[in-house]
Subunit: 355 residues, 2 copies
Amino acid sequence: MASGSAGFSMVQAVQMATRNHGMPLEALRYPITPTGLHYLLIHYDIPVVDEESWRLEVGGEVRRPRSLTVADLRRLDAVETCSTMECAGNGRARFDPMPASQPWLLEAVGTSRWRGVPLRSVLEEAGLGDGVVEILFTGLDRGVEGELEQSYQRSLPVSEAMREDVLLVYEMNGAPLLPQHGFPLRLVVPGWYGMTNVKWLSSVTALERPFEGYQQEHSYRFRRDEDDPGTPLTRMLPRALMVPPGIPEFLTRERLLAPGVHVLQGKAWSGHAPIAGVEVSLDGGESWEPAATSRELDSPWAWCSWTYRWEAAAGRHTVCCRASDEAGNVQPSEPGWNVGGYVNNSPQRVVVTVR
Amino acid sequence: MASGSAGFSMVQAVQMATRNHGMPLEALRYPITPTGLHYLLIHYDIPVVDEESWRLEVGGEVRRPRSLTVADLRRLDAVETCSTMECAGNGRARFDPMPASQPWLLEAVGTSRWRGVPLRSVLEEAGLGDGVVEILFTGLDRGVEGELEQSYQRSLPVSEAMREDVLLVYEMNGAPLLPQHGFPLRLVVPGWYGMTNVKWLSSVTALERPFEGYQQEHSYRFRRDEDDPGTPLTRMLPRALMVPPGIPEFLTRERLLAPGVHVLQGKAWSGHAPIAGVEVSLDGGESWEPAATSRELDSPWAWCSWTYRWEAAAGRHTVCCRASDEAGNVQPSEPGWNVGGYVNNSPQRVVVTVR
């Protein structure tokens, strides 16, 4: 874990960490993350939105530009899907030095039941021009980043935007979106890292050239150093996480557990393909044993559950878990440091004293 | 603000800060803090509670011990009240060195509409023994702190416990308590710091001698040094906070604002007495001007609102706010460092570049 950081004070780390909520790892017990426990990464501020005057502007290279109210969107056929969302920076604070950004350890994840309108319905209604290659999504949240004043913006290739399960979402877990989750409308792209799922949507714009804005061309790229143009981040790599066993020590979060049989449990997900397997190590990653996996949510985009029966003997143990997916992706023991501190999916390590 | 910390690594600070959610300060706009944005300080883990088998054990020195279900409690006359809750450690990370505990800057606050049963009804039904001096509250959350394995426990003097507005709460903002806020039952003591409001209540015990447990005699005391027995923390000292004006820079959270008239707004509260006044400084605390205050919530225990009309001229400004209450408490410019890092209510300072 990080002992130093690059140009980033403890106060800066703390002021980001206290406003950007992580999911406490014991919430891995729940198939659907309870309201208020889903992770939040808010680049700027939660904007004030007046639902009455709010409109979604559908424009750019379309035949029939549209200006839609929430009621207009609710009149279209709705779709509901469960999906797991993870921040591309999850694991950043486990790099050394820690890149200067939101200091996630492992908790930037959550699973929700999303309800909304397929983006495709809205794009087909508007009629994409023949030369359109990307769809741009603009949020109402504004701030300064990389010395640029900007609205939060991300784009998607048309092929992804036209997937049936890419939604313009107005409900989360059966209730209207909360202010912090993008009220009144957000994008949800199952399988992709969180930055894709633009909140507080104000416009959807069809482009004939790829978008080159800050969050696309500078942020959210895997870059080995400042001169590396890097590669864009897209889908979530596999990760397994466990509910930390036993009870915690307040300051260190290390665990205390009574000897005997303990069923370790957790979740695993990948945005590339179904989970192929989950493994557990009881010796800090030296040796691995398979865990049992099962699917509680009927969705290819939601995490699966896993359990492992541990006969815990007295002593101090480092318990780890890791997942692989059917596309052949595995969690690496040595993650690749990168400028933005992205996709550190090295296995979770939990120190447990059994006594 | 803190540049160092006492025996506390950045990873330890971060792992506490990401799991203990702060209220993003722009949420000071709302009279009632939206679900999921109220601050959370969870000493150990969110426990698993089965509502069917859960009971509240009312015992100790009472004439008629009781074992109550949620349905039993819901059959009693309910009371609803709005109150502001703040962590006693709010401001800790602004001490230098920063004491080793949850690193709050300013965001450990929230206001909710609580519904439940007056504790007094339950205590009167049980019949307190003549020698009872305190009521002890035990939560289901367990952990290790100060090398002691413990359930979270706090007590109240009988005089406070018998106040009409001290509630055993089962609803927050019109919905059953969320797991992280103490489902199925928690204590709410309006005016007192957050540690008093025990979550996941499992028992209420009448005591003939003052409770001397860890959270009463060691934690949550104002101690100048390790040898100082200190004084217990009880009611919230006054504090005013503002919605940071303009838009934020991502890493520093410093603000950018266009020149012209801008109405600063925020909230102010005290657990001792009504707010007497709020003042604003535009020069880092050199000079102060009065703000206008108003009451949006019809409750003596909820924060009041304030506004201040600022003609923002180009330049770099440090904007501050502070409150005083009718009991004569004021926010100090130099807070008193203490071992636990409690009650740092020195004025909020927001750096704003106007251009």
